[in-house]
């Protein structure tokens, strides 16, 4: 089956980016919007067509889905062994990601028509959206880790541009810088990891790297470095890069601030697509993690579990609705990462892998829905703070219903999709590591609590005095809400275990009720507590936060991680390292250079007299130099 056309999926947004970006203010906003959305619609259709062909029509070998190189071009040729290619790799996870990215991106394109209407930088916004879509497509279809790295940085840049979209706002500028610097810092480890990995295995290519019987996996772990195999080091370094993009502890600090960007951007980049790149990266390299570096996988599991708990606790204390969603995103990504960490490879062992991908898919749908719904709310009341909201169910009926569905989904209430995917994760954790299982169970309860806290504060509770009566968003904004609500509710019925598995073979799964029933129960308990606390104005939450004052303040201030970073960078690194280096540079390096310059000038001045202008003197110098050189060299050579 010929999949060459898939190269068009990333190329179309790229062309549209170039066109809108170059024309910018020369074209009408309506043209930019229809071009961007139209192009994305084509990519969307192509992605679904590809998924259909791949999952249902392509040739399977021994019942397993194959990795297909749909397109490949050599980009840089260094040696026959070392070359960097650009191409399209199709396998279950990349095809699934094509669906996720194209769906969310298309919905965000449509939503933004209404949300960004009348904004000065409307065309700029659409060109950046296209650039992001191009980069994200390029990332998911990467055939080799270097291509992935290139597009990885490109999505980072797009994210930077979009977070700083309101560049007149100092906080947006600061947030975009923070996001870029923090993720770049993590990417530095990623790059080192890539270099180590390719040094150990002699290849960048994913197919060669993840071939379970190939030399890359079987030989890679042989060299030891500081007590661990080089492969473990390489994979941990690569995972740091992934953790940076996926906002895992301790490099998560950029994600809440990134909410300074327009809300559709938060939905697209900081909820559904780019932030799961780290999960995708680990999944992409999963066989090599599992087989030749189980220690690294353990790190992955615990980082994910800790991050999900950490973020969920913070989320219960925040008042900015987008920040609550941001921490919720971090928590849910922690789930996916943990699921990969507790997974094995192949057969029933690989249920964690499948669950992670499943949750990635459903999370993309319901979290994008939550963000877009939050966007509709913000659009209506012009504030981000839930304390200034309440009783909105009367004014925003569609937003209300879709938001409620999304909250039920994320809380894991059956039969919505979140229940199925989260249940599989808990099952995987249950069979692998009880500590992680209990953490994740607790987080499930917290999730239900803080999501319904959000829901009740926005749509019920006491209605404040609004300056203008809030009104429902236009159809261009409610349509994506309804579409995504449909996906969030029903995507749980997609037979993921048959399609996306660690080894490409379908799995046979049934619901394990001894895991599912506690999970549903903690979810319901969380919802009920939130109902009691926030359905109506109540003094219980304040009392609790008073009693737990110390811990509450700690969590409310995000456990002071930002302050810790500030202290380390400003006080220790700036004062202890940068200042002395700056002094050295200013005085010693510059001083030497100035000295050399002065000496050169002086020499130039002093030999100027040589050039007198008298031709007889020139002749003298000429002949005498010839003779002197002759004498000197004859002595040098022969005596």
């Amino acid at each position: 089956m010929n999949f060459t056309y898939t190269i068009l999926i990333p190329i179309i947004p790229f062309i549209i980016f170039l066109f809108i970006g170059l024309m910018n203010s020369k074209i009408k906003p309506s043209l930019a919007a229809s071009l961007g959305t139209g192009g994305m619609l084509i990519s969307f259709i192509l992605s679904y067509y590809t998924a259909f062909l791949y999952f249902f029509k392509s040739v399977k070998v021994d019942g397993a889905y194959q990795k297909i190189i749909a397109f490949n071009a050599e980009w840089l040729h260094f040696t026959d062994k070392l070359h960097i290619d650009m191409g399209v790799l199709l396998d279950p996870i990349s095809v699934m990601m094509l669906i996720v990215v194209s769906t969310i991106s298309l919905m965000v394109h449509i939503y933004s028509i209404g949300y960004m209407k009348g904004d000065d930088g409307f065309n700029r916004f659409y060109s950046f959206l296209s650039l992001f879509s191009f980069s994200m497509f390029g990332l998911v279809v990467a055939t080799n880790i270097f291509q992935m790295y290139v597009f990885w940085e490109l999505v980072g840049v797009s994210s930077f541009l979009l977070i700083g979209y309101y560049y007149q706002k100092p906080s947006a500028v600061a947030a975009s810088k923070k996001a870029f610097i923090v993720t770049r810092f993590a990417d530095m480890f990623f790059l080192i990891g890539i270099l180590v990995l390719s040094f150990v295995t002699d290849t960048f290519d994913f197919i060669t790297l993840t071939d379970t019987t190939g030399s890359a996996i079987t030989q890679g772990g042989s060299i030891l470095f500081m007590g661990m195999s080089t492969m473990t080091w390489a994979l941990i370094l690569i995972f740091i890069g992934g953790a940076g993009k996926s906002a895992m502890f301790p490099v998560h600090i950029w994600l809440p601030d990134a909410m300074e960007g327009p809300t559709p951007v938060s939905a697209l980049i900081h909820a559904a697509t780019m932030v799961v790149a780290g999960v995708y990266l680990v999944a992409r390299l999963f066989p090599i993690f599992e087989i030749s570096a189980p220690d690294a996988l353990m790190v992955v599991a615990y980082v994910g579990a800790f991050s999900s708990l950490f973020a969920a606790i913070i989320a219960t204390t925040q008042f900015d609705i987008k920040r609550v969603l941001a921490y919720s995103t971090m928590s849910q990504i922690g789930y996916m990462i943990t699921a990969l960490g507790v997974s094995g490879y192949g057969g029933h062992e690989g249920v964690g892998y499948m669950a992670s991908m499943f949750h990635l898919f459903t999370h993309a749908m319901f979290k994008a829905l939550l963000f877009l719904g939050a966007g509709a709310v913000i659009h209506a009341v012009h504030t981000n703070l839930m304390t200034e909201m309440g009783g909105l169910r009367k004014y925003l009926p569609i937003t209300h219903i879709t938001f409620l569905l999304a909250c039920l989904t994320i809380a894991g209430v059956p039969p919505f999709s979140g229940f199925f995917s989260k249940d599989e994760i808990l099952v995987a954790a249950y069979h692998h590591d009880k500590v992680i299982y209990f953490i994740q169970m607790f987080v499930a309860g917290l999730t239900a609590f803080y999501m319904f806290r959000l829901y009740f504060r926005i749509f019920w509770n006491t209605e404040p005095h609004y300056h203008h009566t809030p009104h429902e968003a236009p159809f261009s904004m409610t349509f994506p809400l309804m579409f995504l609500a449909f996906a969030a509710v029903f995507s749980g019925f997609i037979p993921f275990e048959k399609l996306v598995t660690s080894d490409g073979l379908p799995l046979d799964l049934h619901t394990e009720w001894e895991v599912a029933i506690p999970a549903i129960s903690v979810g319901l308990i969380g919802i009920i507590i939130a109902f009691v606390f926030y359905k109506k104005e109540s003094s219980i939450p304040d009392k609790i936060s008073q009693n737990l004052r110390f811990f509450y303040r700690w969590a409310f201030n995000k456990f002071y991680i930002d302050e810790l970073y500030m202290f380390v960078t400003h006080k220790i690194i700036f004062n202890g390292v940068s200042r002395p280096i700056a002094w050295f540079d200013r005085h010693v390096v510059d001083g030497t250079m100035t000295g050399i310059g002065k000496a050169t000038e002086f020499t130039a001045k002093s030999i100027k007299g040589f050039q007198s202008g008298q031709v007889q003197k020139y002749g003298f110098v000429f002949v005498s130099s010839a003779i002197l050189l002759a004498i000197a060299f004859i002595f040098y050579w022969f005596y």
């Binding site: 020499t603 001045k605 030999i607 100027k608 000429f622 060299f633 022969f638």
Partner: protein, 474 residues
């Protein structure tokens, strides 16, 4: 001898015909008609440049006095391109009232020197080499004195002819020593004797070096350069500093490889000393120049020092690097001279201070100048970077790391003074800047070709590969 074998001299014969056309036009034209000849002549020369690229057989004639192979062909074509640009850039200057009466002399003399260079490059013995060399030098002395009404121009002419007479004497002294040792003037036969060095042979070698160093203006045989470059008309200066220098460097390299290949371990020492002296002293002088012609003269001395880095490795990569660098250098330097010429033609201004604020009034010219200077300084991605890069690579293969270090330091120093000019154009303010002007068609074309060259050579790999293939078969 068959007529086909004479066709080996096709380059030279076409040039002779062109020179004759110019001479006859001089005889039969009256008064103002001469001006019409400029476009015709440039057209003819353009055709000549194209003819130069037509396929040609290789071989020797006149009993080995005249040799033609792929390498010589490339060198001649490189010169052709350079001369074409020089001619285009001199059109406007020639049209001036004080120059136009004798413009045909300019053409005849210029072409004559090129004929000399072509014969010199194709020479198979020292006689042909010397004849070509003199034919290439004496008309230039006349050209340097072309602006008779200016005393500086006359001074340039007389200084050039006196100095070159002296250098020819030394050169001939060296050649006669080779003849004394080997009893022959043919390169091949002399080479067979250049195996076991003795002091006499060394004396000849050093004198030969001194004579050639004069032509390429290597320190300490460079003193004539600054005065002549400053005094001569700009077209002649650019011709001298680019075309003559490239031709001399070509034949110098080839003779060193062909005749003295066995003595390479000796003459590498001389090259080492001369390279260090030339780069350093050229830079130190260039730094303090205010007149742009003089400035470019000294910077071209420093550039010649870099060429030596290609020669010192004494292998084919080195020769390839030299030819490639010459090509890059021709385009870069001619772009710079083109701008200086255009400004000087229009306003007579030639010092760096007078270029203050040029960017505001003439942005395009300033950008060209910047590009040319960046290329001369060797900043990527323009061609100059690759030119220097290959020279350094060939020297590195010979293991001359200290020399490369000195060269890199010098390249950095050169960046300093090139930036001085760029700063003047872009940053400094000026109450009376050179007003905006439009130069004539040929000048603009010449500059555009140079700029294209700077870009194309830098970005297109096959040019280097092509030169390499030809040199490998040499």
């Amino acid at each position: 001898m068959q007529i086909e074998t004479l066709l080996l001299m096709r380059h030279e014969m076409v040039l002779v015909i062109i020179a004759l056309i110019a001479l006859f036009y001089e005889i039969f034209s009256k008064g103002n008609n001469k001006q019409k000849f400029i476009p015709i002549f440039i057209g003819i020369y353009f055709i000549n440049t194209i003819i130069g690229f037509l396929p040609q057989s290789e071989g020797t004639i006149f009993g080995g006095m005249f040799v033609l192979s792929g390498v010589q062909l490339i060198m001649k074509n490189v010169l052709n391109i350079g001369v074409l640009i020089v001619l285009m850039q001199s059109a406007g200057w020639l049209k001036k009232a004080e120059n136009k009466d004798n413009m045909l002399e300019f053409f005849v003399l210029l072409i004559s020197t090129q004929i000399g260079m072509d014969y010199m490059i194709s020479s198979g013995d020292f006689l042909m080499f010397y004849l070509g060399l003199e034919l290439a030098t004496i008309p230039i002395a006349i050209l340097a004195a072309y602006e008779r009404n200016k005393s500086k121009s006359a001074e340039a002419g007389i200084k050039l002819i006196l100095s070159s007479a002296l250098s020819s004497g030394i050169l001939l002294f060296g050649i006669s020593i080779f003849y004394m040792i080997s009893g022959s003037i043919y390169f091949d036969e002399v080479a067979t004797f250049m195996v076991n060095p003795n002091p006499l042979m060394a004396l000849g070698l050093v004198f030969f070096f001194a004579g050639m160093s004069f032509k390429i203006s290597l320190v300490p045989f460079h003193l004539w350069t600054a005065d002549v470059y400053e005094g001569a008309p700009i077209s002649v200066t650019s011709y001298l500093s680019v075309i003559s220098k490239a031709a001399a460097a070509f034949i110098f390299t080839m003779i060193l490889f062909k005749v003295f290949g066995q003595l390479a371990y000796l003459w590498k020492d001389i090259i080492y000393v001369l390279a260090v002296l030339t780069m350093t002293v050229g830079n130190l002088f260039a730094m303090r120049q205010q007149n742009l012609k003089r400035f470019l003269a000294f910077s071209s001395i420093a550039q010649a020092g870099f060429i030596l880095l290609g020669i010192i490795s004494a292998d084919k990569i080195g020769l390839t690097a030299v030819i490639y660098f010459a090509l890059v250098y021709i385009f870069s330097n001619l772009a710079a001279f083109g701008v200086v010429g255009a400004v000087s033609n229009f306003s007579g201004k030639e010092t760096i201070k007078e270029y203050n604020g040029l960017y505001k009034t003439n942005p395009k010219l300033s950008l060209v100048m910047m590009l040319a200077l960046f290329s001369l300084a060797g900043i990527p991605p323009v061609a100059g970077f690759f030119g220097k890069f290959f020279l350094f690579t060939s020297a590195a293969q010979g293991g001359y790391y200290w020399l490369i270090l000195i060269a890199v330091l010098n390249a950095t120093i050169s960046l300093y003074y090139y930036l001085l000019v760029i700063r003047a154009m872009f940053i400094e303010s000026n109450e009376t800047p050179v007003p905006n002007f439009k130069s004539d068609f040929f000048m603009r074309t010449g500059i555009v070709i140079s700029v294209l060259g700077i870009f194309i050579i830098g970005f297109i790999g096959p040019i280097w590969d092509y030169i390499k293939v030809v040199v490998d078969s040499f």
